[in-house]
């Protein structure tokens, strides 16, 4: 689900039809929702959403094993595999 955009309409019924014209004309949408702007609760506090701390352990890129794998393979004597490894 992604935010398609906004429309101006007097009621929900017409808002759906406008939304269909704006965001469903080329088969790009399977379903459309409309919500009154006043009913949307927003969280945009960067301290909560983009905290300034190192959280790399939560991402695949936070684990770089290339050098460790070289050491481990050398120790075990098993030939280096050709498949891609981090």
């Amino acid at each position: 689900m992604v935010h398609g955009g906004s429309v101006m309409a007097p009621d929900a019924e017409l808002a759906l039809h406008y939304a269909r014209e704006m965001f469903g004309r080329r088969g790009e949408s399977v379903r459309l929702w409309v919500v009154r702007r006043a009913d949307v609760k927003v969280l945009d506090d960067p301290d909560l959403l983009q905290p300034p701390l190192d959280r790399s352990f939560k991402k695949p890129g936070g684990y770089v094993m290339r050098d460790k794998l070289v050491v481990a393979r050398a120790r075990s004597g098993v030939a280096k595999r050709t498949a891609t490894d981090r």
Binding site: A12, G27, R31, L32, F57, G62, Y63, K68, A72, K80
Partner: protein, 330 residues
């Protein structure tokens, strides 16, 4: 508000509007036939769509078991948060436990929409009426277990979960995309732990080797016994895409070489790749052990369930406060 399906006639065919089985004027047989055809053609089903009772029950059983496993699966690893060897490992393990608890919430939410209240799902789990995955019924004896679980248990799980991203039940398929991404982080975290131990002192190497020997049996049992493709109703409904044996073969194909290159030994003398048959050969997993364990007779089954029972009792006042508020005000 207008049901978006009311707009169906003006949407192009195949865009989700033309689901004949949603037509209430059709007979049940005709709806069933239209539904079968929709699924067979690779169509998706949404929570608000009509669906046959058998399909609803099958998806519910599948998702509920998955949710139970995520909920119970945090317990073996949780025990090691306070004993993690470094601050970074402690943060990573805490994040993993949080992720898995979050997966349980996402999945119970998907299951709830299929008609079974969340409280009923907790009740059934704690009463032993529904199951959770075999691998979470075992103790975690060392830090080596934490690495082996995060790397290989999660890897065996992700092999199955990746195939679920194409599940015919769309809310589950969407949820699996997020879950698979997070599981891939867990695998990196686990492999990093294992590789670090392998490169460490002889005692550290022995620790991870010992853990691997203990976990190999449960890992080989995890996907379940071989079942004929044509008899599997979950495959028929396209809830899942692969048989248990296909999943096990895929797991072995990727991970046995990665385990062996580290100089680690696997306990199965029969384990080898048969070039001619293009299959992994292995000793028959202990299916009696699997049955014993998943019916809550595993070494830690009751301890883990007791912990959940205690935790549920201790947090009852929170639910009562939140859910009871409107009642009290009325």
């Amino acid at each position: 508000m207008t049901d978006p399906l009311a707009l169906a006639p003006i949407l192009p065919p195949g865009s989700g509007g033309a689901r004949r089985f949603n037509e209430p004027t059709l007979t049940d047989d005709a709806r069933q036939a239209a539904f079968e055809a929709h699924i067979a053609a690779g169509g998706k089903v949404e929570a608000t769509d009509w669906m046959p009772d058998e399909y609803r029950a099958s998806v519910l059983r599948f998702v509920e078991m998955h949710a139970n496993s995520e909920l119970m699966g945090v317990l073996p690893e949780r025990e090691w948060i306070l004993r993690a060897p470094t601050l970074r490992r402690k943060l990573a393990l805490t994040a993993k436990v949080q992720d898995e608890a979050g997966h349980a919430q996402l999945l119970y939410r998907v299951a709830e929409d299929l008609g079974k209240p969340r409280e009923a799902m907790y009740d059934d789990l704690l009463a032993g009426k529904t199951k959770f995955h075999n691998v979470f019924h075992y103790p975690t004896r060392s830090w080596g277990d934490v690495g082996v679980i995060a790397w290989l248990v999660d890897a065996a799980a992700i092999v199955a979960q990746q195939a679920l991203r194409d599940c015919s039940y769309a809310p589950y398929a969407r949820t699996m995309r997020k879950i698979c991404w997070e599981e891939s982080v867990h695998i990196m975290h686990g492999r990093d732990i294992v590789v670090t131990l392998v490169n460490g002192t002889p005692a550290q190497f022995a620790m991870v080797q010992e853990a691997l020997l203990r976990w190999w049996g449960p890992l080989m049992q995890m996907h379940g016994p071989r079942t004929p493709r044509e008899k599997d109703r979950d495959l028929h409904w396209r809830i899942k895409a692969k048989t248990s044996e296909e999943l096990r073969q895929e797991f072995l194909g990727i991970y046995v070489p990665r385990i062996r290159e580290l100089g680690l030994t696997l306990p199965d003398p029969e384990l080898r790749y048969d070039e001619e048959a293009r299959l992994w050969r292995y000793s028959e997993p202990d299916w009696d052990e699997l049955r014993t364990v998943v019916t809550n007779h595993g070494p830690m089954s009751q301890v883990r369930l007791d912990f959940r029972r205690l935790q549920r009792a201790e947090t009852a006042w929170v639910r009562a406060t939140i859910l009871g508020a409107p009642v009290a005000a009325a």
